[in-house]
Symmetry: C2
Subunit: 305 residues, 2 copies
């Protein structure tokens, strides 16, 4: 994962935040006002860098539009380029002009660049980092049939709603899988319809989470598993994270893990280092998953052209 | 601040998250499937509850539409009602039906409810909590002329861009204030144009932040001050938070504080308890500020009707 930035401080901050989530950078470059190398030069270099799988960028102004667009198109066809472009408002443009001397760009021109190039546009540092993480950890050929496994019922519904908003489907769980789930999920205050709601107390009886995750991952109608939960003691919590990592490894299916908000999320690094993406909210998880999938479809479509 | 919820677990989680940011609840009610009391009943009660200044809600389905709309309209004219409505997608509706038995609602009808009632719609737990905090801490009659004070230059530009996107203006700083700022802000790697960029090293020389915040708050062309920064040692950090709290108190102008991401944000509780709202990102700070301001304008306009 590489990062190029018109802001040195944002480069600094991102390279500090990444490792806190178990994500590390191959290269990072601060371009300042581009008096020498430009964003186009760096994109052209990074698209062939074997140590870089995903390119992230924070850009204020674009110098030499045509060569930038050409470099961006070329890079996006090889690797995902996740780009936070500012200075699309008069307020941001004025600020960028006094920061890096960037010239104002029009939002319409920028929208055209996004459509033509296949770049992944983002706004904000947290969305940028989430998206980079998703692209670096999620496997190829993502499907759209998601199984949701949650302890909190409200977050199960919210995750389903987020899937709908992001254009993903709720996987139809097979009757065989439902029969397995019914063996150990208590009948009251839970739901076996996708989203699977195992009840908030499953955070104490952590095997309920792990057995359910395993069963869902083995269902051939399920492409990905979104898990919302955690253990409530250090011991159950370690069982939980280790169990989810193992379930992803054994099934070969992608997992996305979301914490129960309000509790420490210091296990993010364990999950991400083991290749399981971790997100702060269900909305962020689902949005990133859908974006990675859309990019994969776009790249397959444009591959022959 | 009161909270009503169709999900018991979300009520639980929110009442756990609030105090971590120094925000406390007057009342919280879990309505489940509304076999007895409805959301309309609770809204009608809370709108006259002297201990409640802001009402938050997570709702899946609406029973008896007309009486709900009437209660929502009545409550919104007295107090801000921040509402996270799910089940507007087929996926969310199906999930809600098996969770609280909620009937599906149409997104178009819901958009009509939002337009007619003055309710503040949100999506997601983090946005809900941010918005509730903003409404409970920001004072009446917010203006749209924002001064941005930042150490990281990229976040200064991003904050200006976020202001543009949210319909806020960058305050024009008076020449008198600029002369004061020039006395102690180093000339290199900084900017005296709004956004004021004091340089990343100001996190070590914390008086630069505090003197700048004070000068900006005293400028009659400035309605609010957004500060992005922190001290890098426990001592400078305490000086920083105490100094900002004091500057808000003395000036009577609203401050919004944003951490430098990647560092512990455990001072959120100190700031919020002292009445200074704290946000995780510049985008979240600016969006909430603009929403509170829009609601205040709407309420003034509809007051006589």
């Amino acid at each position: 994962m590489a990062f190029i930035s018109h802001s040195g401080s944002l480069g600094n901050i991102l390279c500090r935040m990444g490792p806190q989530k178990g994500i590390h950078f191959s290269k990072a470059a601060s371009l300042g006002n581009e008096c020498d190398l430009t964003a186009a030069d760096l994109l052209s270099y990074l698209m062939d860098d074997p140590k870089t799988g995903v390119i992230g960028a924070y850009l204020e102004g674009i110098k030499q539009g045509p060569s930038f667009l050409s470099a961006l198109k070329g890079a996006s066809r090889k690797k995902p380029v996740v780009l936070w472009k500012v200075a699309l408002t008069p307020e941001g443009s004025k600020a960028a002009a006094s920061h890096t001397g960037a010239l104002a760009g029009s939002r319409e021109i920028w929208n055209g660049v996004v459509r033509q190039s296949g770049v992944i546009p983002v706004q904000g540092l947290d969305v940028l980092l989430d998206t980079l993480m998703g692209f670096s950890l999620l496997p190829p050929r993502l499907g759209d049939r998601v199984a949701i496994l949650s302890g909190p019922g409200g977050l199960a519904v919210a995750a389903a709603e987020a899937c709908g908003n992001a254009g993903l489907k709720l996987a139809k769980i097979s009757s065989k899988t439902l029969a397995i789930l019914a063996e150990f999920i208590p009948p009251t205050g839970t739901s076996l319809q996708n989203p699977i709601d195992v009840g908030l107390t499953a955070s104490l009886e952590i095997q309920i989470y792990l057995r359910a995750a395993k069963a869902l991952a083995e269902d051939s109608g399920v492409d990905a598993i979104l898990v919302v939960g955690r253990g409530m003691t250090p011991d159950t919590h370690k069982l939980y994270t280790d169990g989810l990592i193992q379930a992803q490894r054994e099934s070969g299916k992608p997992f996305c893990v979301v914490n129960i908000p309000g509790f420490d999320a210091d296990f993010a690094v364990d999950l991400c280092q083991a290749g399981v993406p971790f997100f702060e909210t269900v909305e962020r998880a689902v949005t990133v998953y859908a974006r990675v999938r859309r990019y994969q479809i776009w790249r397959t479509k444009t591959a022959g052209r």
